[in-house]
């Protein structure tokens, strides 16, 4: 049966691989959005203290912090829109599938976000003219709506890695409340409160107060970082429920991934140790430089954590359903027969650069199957990766791609596609000479076809 595979135009981002593009926007968005969530909770707490007569708490609530929360949720909203547009740029089919599957829950999340924006703005603009009860109610509604926003989006994002019973046809809710839903939600909540506490420590240091009163405010704010102590439990829970192959890569199977796990864990441990042991137990104070440094560490931990979350999904973008090449397993099997590029309606932008039709085909195969994670000469460069490989090694490794590296998807093309890609890579390694002989040995193609048949189209990690 013919499959209607939607081919989208492919953009390149110079030396940046697409993961870096979406990662850059995503990390900023997550950092700001999580701060806005924790910030709402922290404001609610300090407002309660202010209403019980703590003048410094009142000053804190009405000062920079309120503005920071406002700025972060507006900037967070805009970077959220940026996430949508960027995801379309780097993986249109992935975001399309997520929208298709969860549009009503996304719309639900939008309602909570709308409540968050209205309550936040109302407090920002009219808070000084409202009575205590109204102020606290508005902040409470803001904080709850912000957290609910996280609740809904967390289910959609965690579904990508662990779709759980959804894969067995148990419906959308089985996908939403998937195995990593709760550990992710608790983990992110702990991150949100910790970020808010760290920003508060910076802001309190800028307030015009005597040292001991600042220290008292900091001690109270730092309580919001206490959930960081539970983060190892949530992280272990998360590790326990993710697919085995993903876990293996995080725990040593893939050195870059393991390093990022180490960065996230190490930075979180340092922050946790300073806040819990230093500020809460030893009652040390914290100056603006140290508070800022801890916040930078928290940004690093967030960045590393997001990298781990994204990387753990490989070779899928939606586990068991959609590969990082934006192809389904059924489509991979289909393209093994038809070839990867026959349905692609878009010509190469730089077709004239390639001296032969085979090299042009290789470039198209690269665009359809490799471009999602690799560049030719920039970051995660494929040309540099294969530079020292022999011809047959290249053919074998590409044909049996999922065996070459367990986090690679199966090659979604036929033997001629493999050979065209090999020739294009060799041509790039050779410095793009003006002429290049066509590789037309039937024995070579037959050997590649045998390798493709041997390896099949199943991924190594199962679904």
């Amino acid at each position: 049966m013919a499959l209607a595979i939607p081919y989208y135009p492919v953009n390149e981002f110079g030396p940046l691989m697409k993961g870096l593009v979406i990662g850059g926007v995503g990390i900023l968005h997550v950092f700001l959005a999580q701060f806005a969530i924790g910030g709402g909770m922290l404001l609610y707490y300090f407002e309660g203290r202010a209403q019980r007569g703590d003048a410094d708490a009142r000053k804190f609530v009405d000062g920079y912090f309120r503005v920071l929360v406002l700025v972060s949720f507006v900037f967070g909203a805009l970077t959220g829109v940026a996430m949508w547009f960027t995801t379309i740029q780097v993986g249109a089919r992935t975001i399309g599938l997520m929208v298709d599957e969860f549009h009503w829950l996304w719309a639900t999340e939008w309602v909570w976000f709308s409540i968050e924006v209205c309550a936040g703005y109302a407090f920002y603009r009219f808070g000084s003219r409202l009575d205590d009860r109204a102020r606290r109610s508005l902040l409470g509604l803001y904080a709850f709506a912000a957290w609910m926003s996280l609740f809904w989006i967390n289910g959609i994002l965690s579904w990508q890695l662990t779709p759980g019973g959804w894969l067995d046809g148990n419906g959308m809710w089985a996908g939403f409340f998937n195995p990593s839903f709760w550990p992710s939600l608790f983990f992110r909540t702990a991150v949100a409160t910790t970020l808010a506490a760290l920003v508060a420590c910076v802001v309190i240091n800028t307030m015009d107060l005597p040292r001991e009163r600042k220290a008292e405010l900091i001690r109270r704010a730092s309580r919001f970082a206490a959930p960081i102590a539970l983060m190892p439990i949530f992280a272990l829970w998360f590790l326990a429920v993710i697919p085995e192959d993903s876990r293996t890569w995080l725990l040593g199977g893939s050195l870059p991934m393991t390093m990022f796990v180490g960065v996230a864990a190490g930075a979180s441990m340092l922050i946790g140790a300073y806040v819990i042991v230093g500020i809460m137990i030893k009652r040390l104070t914290i100056n603006i430089a140290t508070a800022t440094l801890l916040l930078v560490l928290a940004f690093g931990a967030t960045a590393a954590g997001e990298f781990v979350r994204e990387g753990a999904r490989k070779p899928f973008t939606v586990r068991g359903v959609l590969y990082s090449t934006s192809l389904t397993p059924a489509e991979v099997a289909h393209l093994r027969v038809t070839g990867a590029t026959v349905g692609d309606p878009y010509p190469l932008r730089d077709e004239a650069r390639y001296p032969t039709a085979q090299l042009q085909r290789g470039a198209k195969v690269f665009r359809v199957l490799c471009d999602a994670c690799h560049t030719k000469h920039g970051s995660n460069s494929l040309v540099e990766l294969v530079r020292t490989w022999t011809d047959d090694q290249m053919r074998l490794n590409i044909a049996k791609l999922q065996r070459t590296k367990g986090f690679m998807p199966p090659f979604a093309g036929n033997a001629e596609d493999v050979e065209a890609l090999v020739q294009m890579l060799k041509w790039e390694v050779a410095g793009t000479p003006r002429s290049w002989p066509a590789s037309a040995d039937p024995a070579v193609v037959a050997q590649i076809a045998r390798w493709l048949d041997e390896v099949g189209t199943s991924p190594m990690g199962g679904r």
């Binding site: 829109v81 740029q89 009503w104 829950l105 719309a107 703005y121 009219f126 409202l130 509604l141």
Partner: protein
């Protein structure tokens, strides 16, 4: 009722149209309000409308962005392949709408808080918001022009230079002027209302001229969009009557007439705008067709309406002048 037919498409389309109309109200206020405040700042005028506008612009932009998320979501259900393809063809040039909005947002804060930098900030904001309006007009038309995709992609062209972009953008800008006046009139009285009435009518004249320009280019609405075009024209006529009434009697019920008819015109206009695009409506994909969660959305939406109504009531009660003050 056309075009809200079909079990799934109808609901998506209805939500898309209504949330798009809501989004249009806020962004119209932001774009025209920023330009209006800029003109008044250049004139160094103590215009009370401009003062009010500067004060609420950041909030209105926040509302506009938030309200814009919903139509953006449903757009991806209705026209996924077309929207994504147009997105990808325009590429980073399209993505520039986000930094433009961020710059515009902070420019509005600067304009609100700094007299010294006000004119520069408002000028920057106006440019940013015009860029966003132009980009949306462009992508809307590019979605409809599938034959252009391949050509543009191959050539690496990031600007869709179709002749329909300029008149369509002009039509929108005219409609936005009237929408701005419709919102602003509820905070104005007397002479300010008369000025807004003139602006609103001028906006409608621009719409008429832009529509005529589009017709000369061959634009037409097939079958008058099942009567929605006539509803739109009728609403526009009543609305114009309302604005004339306001001009003559600024503090009468003309504001109510103009707002009611303007709202009807906005919704009918949104349907008429959608009519040509319905030809590329994509069949619901199985995943979208089978997606659950609709009751959850409805319940949350009802809660959201109540919560926002409570916020408004709390503010009104809390900021009402007390008898003893």
């Amino acid at each position: 009722m056309w075009p809200f037919t079909g079990e799934v498409h109808g609901v998506w389309l209805l939500i898309y149209i209504l949330t798009f109309a809501l989004h249009a109200v806020f962004i119209s206020y932001v774009l025209v309000g920023t330009a209006y405040a800029l003109v008044q700042a250049v004139r160094r005028s103590d215009d009370p409308i401009a003062e009010r506008v500067r004060d609420v612009l950041p909030f209105m932009l926040g509302c506009g962005i938030t309200a814009g998320v919903a139509p953006l979501l449903f757009l991806q259900l209705l026209y996924q392949r077309h929207f994504y393809s147009a997105n990808l063809i325009l590429g980073p040039r399209w993505g520039a709408v986000v930094p433009a909005l961020i710059i515009g947002f902070y420019a509005l804060y600067v304009a609100k808080s700094s007299v010294k930098w006000r004119r520069h900030a408002l000028a920057a904001g106006t440019v940013c918001f015009l860029f966003v309006a132009w980009s949306w007009t462009e992508i809307h038309l590019l979605m409809l022009d599938e034959p252009a995709w391949r050509t543009m992609y191959t050539a690496g062209t990031r600007i869709y230079g179709d002749g329909g972009v300029a008149p369509r953008l002009l039509l929108w800008l005219g409609a936005m002027v009237t929408l701005f006046a419709t919102v602003s009139i509820w905070w104005a009285s007397g002479a300010q209302r008369r000025r807004l009435a003139v602006m609103a009518l001028a906006g409608r004249v621009i719409v008429g001229l832009a529509a005529a320009w589009l017709v000369t280019q061959g634009a037409s609405i097939e079958g008058a969009a099942h009567g929605w075009l006539y509803l739109l024209i009728g609403a526009l006529v009543i609305e114009a009557g309302g604005w004339v009434w306001i001009w003559r009697v600024p503090d009468g019920v003309g504001a109510l007439v103009a707002t009611a008819a303007g709202t009807a015109a906005l919704v009918a206009g949104a349907v008429v705008r959608e009519a040509p695009r319905l030809a590329i409506l994509e069949p619901p994909r199985p995943a979208a067709l089978e997606a659950g969660g609709f009751p959850t959305f409805v319940a949350t939406f009802a809660f959201g309406v109540l919560a926002i109504a409570w916020i408004v009531q709390t503010i009104r009660r809390g900021t009402r002048p007390r008898p003893d003050s």
